[in-house]
C-alpha cells in the first residue's frame, strides 16, 4: 500500500512564495518594457537635463511610487504578509557616508551606461552582448564590494 506523500505547510508556503516572486518579476519586467526604461538611451535622456531632456522616467517613478505607497498604507493594517511569517523591511538607520558615497558611485555608473540592475537583468532576454557584459561587470562589482566589506568589522549588512 502506498503511503500518501505528506507535504508540510512550510513547503506549501515556499512554493507560493516562489510563484509570487516569478509573477512579480514578470510584472516588473513587463512594466520596464512598457515604460521604455529598458532603453539606456531613454534613461540617459532623462538625466540629460542640460540637453534634449526626456521626462519619461519621472512618470515611471511617479506611477511606481504611487502604487507602492498604497501597498505601504495597506501593510499597516496587516499582521503579517500572506505567505510569510513577517515583513522583512530594512531597519531605519541614519544617513551615513556609505549610503551617500555608494549612491554617488552608483549614479556615476548609471549615467555612463544608462543601465541599472533591474533593466539590465530584464534586457538579458534580448541576447545583446553589451547587456551581458554590463551584467557580468555589475556582478563582479557587487562581489568586489562584498569581499572588501567582509574584511572590515561591521562593514556591510
Amino acid at each position: 500500500m502506498m503511503r500518501p506523500a505528506r507535504i508540510s505547510s512550510a513547503q506549501i508556503l515556499v512554493a507560493l512564495q516562489v510563484l509570487v516572486a516569478l509573477l512579480a518579476g514578470a510584472v516588473f519586467g513587463l512594466g520596464l518594457s512598457l515604460s521604455g526604461m529598458l532603453d539606456p538611451a531613454r534613461v540617459r535622456g532623462f538625466l540629460d537635463v542640460a540637453g534634449d531632456w526626456d521626462p519619461s522616467l519621472a512618470f515611471v517613478l511617479g506611477g511606481a511610487v504611487a502604487v507602492a505607497f498604497a501597498a505601504m498604507v495597506l501593510r499597516r493594517h496587516l499582521q503579517r504578509p500572506a505567505f510569510a511569517s513577517a515583513f522583512h523591511l530594512p531597519a531605519t538607520t541614519p544617513i551615513d557616508k556609505r549610503l551617500i558615497l555608494g549612491s554617488a558611485i552608483f549614479g556615476l555608473g548609471w549615467g555612463l551606461a544608462g543601465l541599472c540592475p533591474g533593466p539590465a537583468l530584464a534586457a538579458l532576454s534580448l541576447g545583446l552582448a553589451p547587456v551581458m557584459l554590463f551584467v557580468a561587470a555589475m556582478l563582479a562589482g557587487m562581489t568586489l564590494h562584498d569581499r572588501l566589506a567582509a574584511r572590515q568589522p561591521g562593514g556591510s549588512r
Binding site: 519586467g29 515611471v60 506611477g63 511610487v65 555608494g102 549612491s103 541599472c116 539590465a120 553589451p130 562589482g141
Partner: protein, 136 residues
C-alpha cells in the same frame, strides 16, 4: 502628455510588482538586494524565481505588442564594463538602487532612500552633462 501614458502605466506595473512582493512575501523589491541574497545563497528559490520572471517580462511585452522593447546602447564596451563595475559596487555600498531606494524606499517615505535617490540622480545628471561636454 499622451506620449507618457506607457511610461505611467509601466511605472504602475512596477509599483504593482513591488506591492505583490511586499504584501504576499513580505519582501522589498530591490533588485540589487535580490541579487545580493541570491549570491549569498539565502532565499535562493524565490530570488531566482524573481530574476527569471524579470527576464520573462520583455518576451511578454513582445507577445502583446509584436515588437521587442528597444534597447539603444551608445556606450563603448570599455565604458560599459566600467559602468557595470560602478553600478554593482555602488548599489551594494549604498544598500540599494533605483528599485529598492527609488520605488520602495520613497513609497515608505524613508529619509535614507530620499537621500540615496537625490544623490544618484545628481551624479547621474552630472555624468551625462559632463559626457555631453567632452563628446557632444
Amino acid at each position: 502628455m499622451t506620449a507618457y501614458w506607457p511610461s505611467l502605466i509601466g511605472g504602475m506595473l512596477i509599483g504593482l510588482s513591488a506591492s505583490m512582493l511586499l504584501l504576499l512575501n513580505g519582501r522589498v523589491a530591490g533588485i540589487s538586494g535580490i541579487l545580493g541574497r541570491l549570491a549569498q545563497g539565502t532565499q535562493m528559490l524565490p530570488n531566482a524565481a524573481f530574476v527569471i520572471g524579470l527576464m520573462i517580462g520583455p518576451p511578454l511585452y513582445r507577445l502583446g505588442s509584436g515588437a521587442w522593447p528597444s534597447v539603444t546602447i551608445t556606450a563603448s564596451l570599455p565604458v560599459i564594463t566600467i559602468a557595470g563595475l560602478l553600478v554593482g559596487f555602488g548599489s551594494r555600498m549604498g544598500s540599494g538602487c533605483t528599485s529598492g531606494h527609488g520605488v520602495v524606499g520613497l513609497a515608505r517615505l524613508s529619509p535614507r532612500s530620499l537621500a540615496a535617490v537625490a544623490t544618484f540622480l545628481a551624479t547621474g545628471v552630472a555624468t551625462v552633462t559632463l559626457m555631453r561636454l567632452v563628446a557632444p
